[in-house]
């Protein structure tokens, strides 16, 4: 039986730091970068106050932070780090090392625009740029979700059918620095939920020597990648199983996505993270006027839940996918192109258009969301989309 949860007011960063405290990983290696810095700063306080047993390693760059985390994880430790933007970009080489060594590292990422020009505010260019690195990616709308997702991520990553690293994303400043009310589980419940980490192959097991990352050329490299791809496919089921178990503990239910007033919705916005909250307010407003609008907020982007999203949108007539990062493909943002491709074999295909929005922290308010819904309305009247890709709210 779960103990009572505590209602607290915390920023997204503080909430994640508390999740880390409750997980009590063996090793955390990190390097400061705005807007992530807080997470590790709070966490280092827990270390110095003796609230966790973690070995806390300060390094001289994110390249080293991820390298040290990889080393610790390969040695058999439960190892974590956290970063944002340029830090994630600098880790890129090591992201592939972590996933190909099948190390269940959990990394909170606080989304921030990539340079240049230099910018410290939110967009998703950092994590969208690492979609091909073999990491599971989970996005959070609020501090509550960031907290819940980090705890679940440990179980997902370490599941024997998965053994892949996980990024848990939240929106820089909007979520990371905004104070919200949330519920946190009792320490012992989290401890029990994540359990003790028992790696099957690890370097410090001297009785069974193993090697990570040896040379594999034309002979075996392909098989390594196929196994990673299979693990990613397995993750879908595991994510749902872990969510179910977590719901029993916390009362908070998670899936691969969240549908908000979606069942009979004709016009739907698909958007990640904090902007989903803004969209919910607009959905409620338009619904009160009798308009059939809804929201689909993907939670998991890697693995991409293609069938599930297509199924969830099967009743929709017009869909606007909002991406918070450019891809420069000229064909729209990442979520848009993947979702559009997912509809290729669907019997019913809604009108579908893309908005690139909120770059470098540009505020996206209910006004912009209203505009998107009204564009969809016009498209429906017209019978086709006016424009495939639109940059929302751009200076003339």
């Amino acid at each position: 039986m779960a103990s009572e949860q505590r209602k607290v007011a915390m920023t997204g960063n503080e909430a994640v730091a508390n999740a880390l405290r409750q997980i009590d990983p063996d090793v955390v290696a990190a390097y400061p970068i705005t807007p992530q810095t807080d997470i590790v700063q709070y966490f280092s306080q827990f270390v110095s106050d003796g609230q966790v047993k973690t070995e806390f390693v300060t390094v001289e760059s994110e390249h080293s932070a991820m390298s040290a985390t990889v080393g610790a994880s390969a040695a058999g430790a439960r190892a974590m780090t956290a970063t944002s933007s340029q830090g994630l970009a600098l880790m890129w080489e090591m992201l592939h090392i972590a996933s190909s060594y099948r190390l269940p590292i959990v990394m909170p990422v606080v989304n921030r625009a990539l340079s240049g020009p230099i910018n410290i505010h939110c967009d998703h260019s950092d994590t969208m740029g690492s979609l091909t690195t073999g990491w599971i990616q989970i996005y959070s709308e609020s501090a509550q979700e960031a907290y819940d997702n980090v705890i679940q991520a440990v179980r997902i990553a370490e599941h024997p059918d998965v053994l892949l690293p996980v990024m848990v994303c939240q929106d820089g400043f909007i979520t990371s620095h905004g104070i919200e009310n949330l519920e946190i589980l009792a320490d012992e419940d989290v401890k029990q939920f994540v359990g003790e980490y028992k790696p099957s192959n690890y370097l410090l097991n001297i009785k069974e020597p193993v090697t990570f990352g040896p040379l594999a050329l034309q002979d075996y490299y392909t098989e390594f990648k196929v196994q990673q791809a299979e693990a990613m496919a397995n993750a879908k089921k595991v994510i749902l199983e872990v969510a179910e178990e977590y719901a029993k503990l916390s009362g908070r239910k998670y899936g691969l996505f969240e549908g908000y007033r979606l069942d009979d919705a004709e016009r739907v916005i698909v958007v990640l993270s904090s902007t989903a909250g803004t969209t919910k307010a607009v959905v409620d407003e338009l619904r009160s006027k009798g308009q059939k609008v809804g929201l689909l907020k993907p939670r998991v982007i890697r693995p991409f839940p293609a069938e599930e999203l297509v199924d969830a949108l099967s009743g929709a007539k017009a869909v606007a996918v909002m991406d918070r990062a450019e891809t420069f493909s000229t064909q729209g943002g990442q979520i848009f192109t993947e979702l559009r491709a997912a509809f290729y074999y669907a019997k019913e295909r809604p009108l579908m258009r893309n908005y690139i929005f909120g770059l470098g922290g540009r505020d996206t308010t209910t006004r912009e969301i209203h505009k998107v819904f009204s564009d969809l309305e016009n498209d429906l009247e017209r019978g086709h989309v006016e424009k495939l890709v639109t940059h929302l709210d751009v200076r003339e």
């Binding site: 400061p32 280092s44 760059s61």
Partner: protein
């Protein structure tokens, strides 16, 4: 005549981001004065920086400026110098930028003796990200990541540059503002890689935690612990304890890399003509 700073500044970018009492303005001013006093052609200067409070300086400087990524300023500047050897390329960096995340570039630029002037705004802390220790934080000092005092040994940046084969290394402080200008002038006229360790105060994240309550306390600390290099050389080791030398610590002549490279191109071309 008093120096008119307006010409050298993007005044529309003011107010700047630096905290009250920060030393970075003094170092920026010293760079401007050095350029002015040497009468350098501002059209032939490129200023490059990484990321940090220090690296914000080029944003306020009315030159051709390049604001790059954390730690990589010297690498970007190397490209500029190789493409346009006639330019005076100045790198503005912080102690974290130059010696932690970007330490590799510093030693290789010194080793190559490429004609860059690197001015490190050395406040011995990561200012921009709120006071984590850097590789310049003294043993025992407090930082947000060193709540019990710094354990790791710091770099001596001038020694590092010299050890890597650097041909010019100097140090000064924001207290020694006039001296700092002179040192930067010498660096700017050196043919080859020149490095200036410009000690600067971070009252917000360093002073406050380390019993140096005001910016003035921090500058007085520079006054009380700096020793001219000529005196330093005569001091026995026990007297050096806790002090540091200021002035030009190393200056030797060696072929500058972009010139060596042009020489090679010419030689190969000549051979091609044979």
């Amino acid at each position: 005549m008093a120096l008119s700073f307006e010409k050298y500044l993007r005044t529309q970018k003011m107010p700047h981001i630096w905290c009250p009492g920060c030393g970075h303005g003094i170092v920026t001013q010293a760079i401007i004065r050095a350029i002015d006093e040497l009468g350098l052609n501002t059209e032939k200067i490129a200023i490059v920086s990484g990321i940090g409070c220090s690296s914000r300086a080029p944003g306020y400087l009315n030159f051709d400026t390049l604001h790059t990524t954390h730690g990589r300023a010297i690498a970007f500047a190397t490209g500029i110098k190789m493409a346009r050897p006639e330019l005076k390329v100045i790198v503005i960096t912080g102690d974290g930028d130059a010696a932690a995340i970007g330490g590799n570039h510093l030693i290789h630029a010194a080793r190559r003796n490429i004609g860059l002037t690197v001015v490190c705004f050395d406040n011995n802390i990561y200012g921009m990200t709120s006071g984590q220790y850097s590789p310049l934080t003294p043993v025992g000092s407090f930082a947000s990541t060193a709540p019990y005092g710094m354990l790791e040994r710091p770099f001596d940046l001038c020694e590092l540059v010299v050890g890597a084969g650097g041909t010019f290394a100097a140090r000064s402080t924001t207290y020694h503002a006039r001296h700092l200008v002179n040192v930067i002038k010498e660096a700017l006229t050196h043919n080859g890689f020149s490095f200036v360790d410009a000690l600067s105060q971070c009252p917000t994240y360093y002073g406050r935690r380390n019993k140096l309550r005001t910016p003035l306390d921090m500058m007085n600390w520079f006054r009380d612990h700096a020793v001219p290099v000529s005196t330093w050389e005569k001091m026995p080791p026990e007297e050096r304890e806790g002090k540091f030398p200021i002035g030009v610590i190393k200056k030797v002549d060696a072929p500058e890399f972009s010139e060596v490279y042009s020489g090679l191109i010419e030689k190969v071309r000549e051979r091609g003509d044979e």
